[in-house]
Amino acid sequence: MNCGPPDQLPPPQATAPSCFLNLNWDQSMDAPAHRGAGAHLDPALGSMVSSPAASNSTATEGLALHGISPHYGGTPPPKLDLSMMGQFHHHYPPPQAGGGSGGGLPTLENLMPMGSLDQFLADPGFAERAARLSGFGGPGPGQFGLPDDGPIGALKELELGNARDESSVSDPASEMALKGAPDGNARKRKAGSKGKGKDSSMSTSAKDLLAKEDSAAKRCKSMEESNGAEENCAKGKAAQSSSENGGGKKQGKDAGASKLPEPPKDYIHVRARRGEATDSHSLAERVRREKISQRMKLLQDLVPGCNKVVGKAVMLDEIINYVQSLQRQVEFLSMKLATVNPQLDFNNLPNLLAKDMQQSCGQLQSSHFPLEASGAPLPYMSQPHQGSNPLDCGMTDGMDDQGSMHHQLDPAFCRPMGSHHHFLNGVSDAASQVGAFWQDLQSVVQMDMGQSQEIATSSNSYDGSLQTVHMKMEL
């Protein structure tokens, strides 16, 4: 795509000089004539364009652009690239440069129907690229990326400067823009072409330029890196920034066409923050605040009763209260454990963790709840035990002690457990009355169910009250 076959090039050149030579911008800006020229160029240029660039697929102006880009890196000096002329001007012998730039710039203007500027500007990809010209984001040059950039940037300026009817007046300005914009781009292209250059059949002249502007490339790289660091600051989220930063650097280095979609994203991101202060200190401060507020949000979810609270100080109060209450609870529970278990005899508890939980459960059940063991519910009790172990899919996997049996998700299991509560709390009725108690037990069952669900979701707004209820019951 870079080098059109030489025999195909003459036609555009043949048509172009008519525009080159007269340099009459006012007339050439004339839409019909211009369209005619564009249409004239189309077939020849279209054949040279092997693959259309991603963004400019619109009718003639797209083709016109493509028509320019094949010249880039392109073949013999006479057909020297239009967009390159502005930038590399000084590297070239005067005759070529003079002839090329003198002729080249007008053609560039002429190839672009001015009516299409709106489309270009409306096209986000173009607008972004044009706007990016000053800020070395390092977009991959792609196939046509950079040669496109210069003209479009210039055209945009032209458009902004009311160029349509005053194009002759703004002629020097446009030239300046053309010169200035690709100049900025040249460095970028250097970085891009380094990785790409070997295989993409760069012409010797382009390589020459590469060698000559090597220093510029280095400058570019350092600037890109600093830019990357800035973006890094702006991003905030560490993971995201690191990934994107890496991506950006890679873009600068190997600049594949696949990387094309990314630079706009970066750019938009930076741009979204343009209204705010952009020095690194305030960026870092903003990032810090963002992170803190994220943490606060997480804490808000974790701490019950904190989500209705407005204001950071009040929220922190809630958090402090909650942490203190939890610590006090731990103290209280350890006191309780020390009291209820005078020998601190937890030797039998690890059995519950063993794989043979089914048997040990039954034993402990009978030993710890002799009331049931003696009564009728025992078969009823042991049967759901065996049945519920496979069903015990919930959070209590493998860590069941006696207490955790109260938290089974299985309702068929929870109900008998609810009966335990009653027995534990002094409702010392005959075990045969379990069936009669059913209505009363429902509330206890509900509590247990609620607690087990609440463990799963770890939203403990219910926990505090429930726990106090248990304490009251048991103390």
């Binding site: 810090r288 992170k291 803190i292 943490r295 606060m296 997480l298 804490l299 974790l302 950071k312 100080a313 922190l316 109060d317 958090i319 402090i320 909650y322 942490v323 939890l326 610590q327 609870q329 731990v330 103290e331 529970l333 350890s334 006191m335 309780k336 454990l337 020390a338 209820v340 278990n341 005078p342 020998q343 601190l344 005899d345 937890f346 030797n347 039998n348 508890l349 690890p350 519950l352 963790l353 030993s367 710890h368 709840f369 959070m395 996997d397 493998g398 860590m399 002690d401 006696q402 207490g403 955790s404 109260h406 938290h407 534990l424 463990i455 770890s458 403990n460 926990d463 726990q467 248990h470």
Partner: protein, 185 residues
């Protein structure tokens, strides 16, 4: 950072560790008074939580170190953590003490300077709000083990988040133990 409450694995590890450490504590508890026994239970549950959370969390390290800094816990901790574990924890506790002392000195200076800035500042309401938040963060710093050594509110809040999640699990497991204890029947 992961939220340990949601992970079943953490609960399981915690429970196992808790039972092991309680068992260890139980070996020496025959002659203990109630207070000592309570402290032993507290210690073992805390250590179990810290061990289950892992050494990556600063608060866990600080919790173990805080317990290790008290002489009377030495025997128990040595048995729970093993000799090497205890030594490292005790060393951390000693160094932490030094850090805390120096940090306190630093903070005194900083508070003075911030008060100076507040009095000269024009925006009174915002300043008051900021000072309130700061005061609460200081309180929170004292509540979370190892909080004094943390700089910046972001790291502090992350630690609080982690610690609260673990504390919740601890309370839950200890409740279960209480319910499951033989004497409760």
């Amino acid at each position: 950072m992961h939220a340990p409450t949601s992970s079943r694995k953490f609960k399981k590890a915690f429970m196992e560790q808790l039972l092991v450490s309680l068992q260890v504590a139980g070996l020496t508890s025959k002659t203990m008074g109630l207070q000592e026994r309570r402290d032993a239970v507290r210690l073992s549950s805390d250590v179990a939580m810290a061990v289950a959370r892992g050494r990556a969390a600063p608060w866990a390290r600080a919790l173990v170190a805080r317990h290790a800094s008290e002489r009377r816990n030495e025997a128990l901790l040595r048995r729970i953590l093993g000799g090497a574990g205890y030594e490292s924890a005790a060393a951390a506790g000693r160094s932490r003490k030094i850090v805390r002392r120096s940090h306190g000195a630093c903070r005194r200076k900083r508070i003075k300077s911030s008060v100076m800035a507040a009095s000269s500042g024009s925006n009174g309401g915002a300043m008051v709000a900021r000072r309130m938040v700061k005061k609460r963060l200081q309180v929170l710093r004292k509540l979370v083990p190892g909080g004094e050594a943390l700089h910046g509110s972001f790291s502090l809040l992350s630690q609080v988040l982690d610690y609260v999640a673990c504390l919740k699990t601890q309370v839950e497991l200890m409740q279960r133990l209480c319910k499951g204890s033989p004497a409760a029947a």
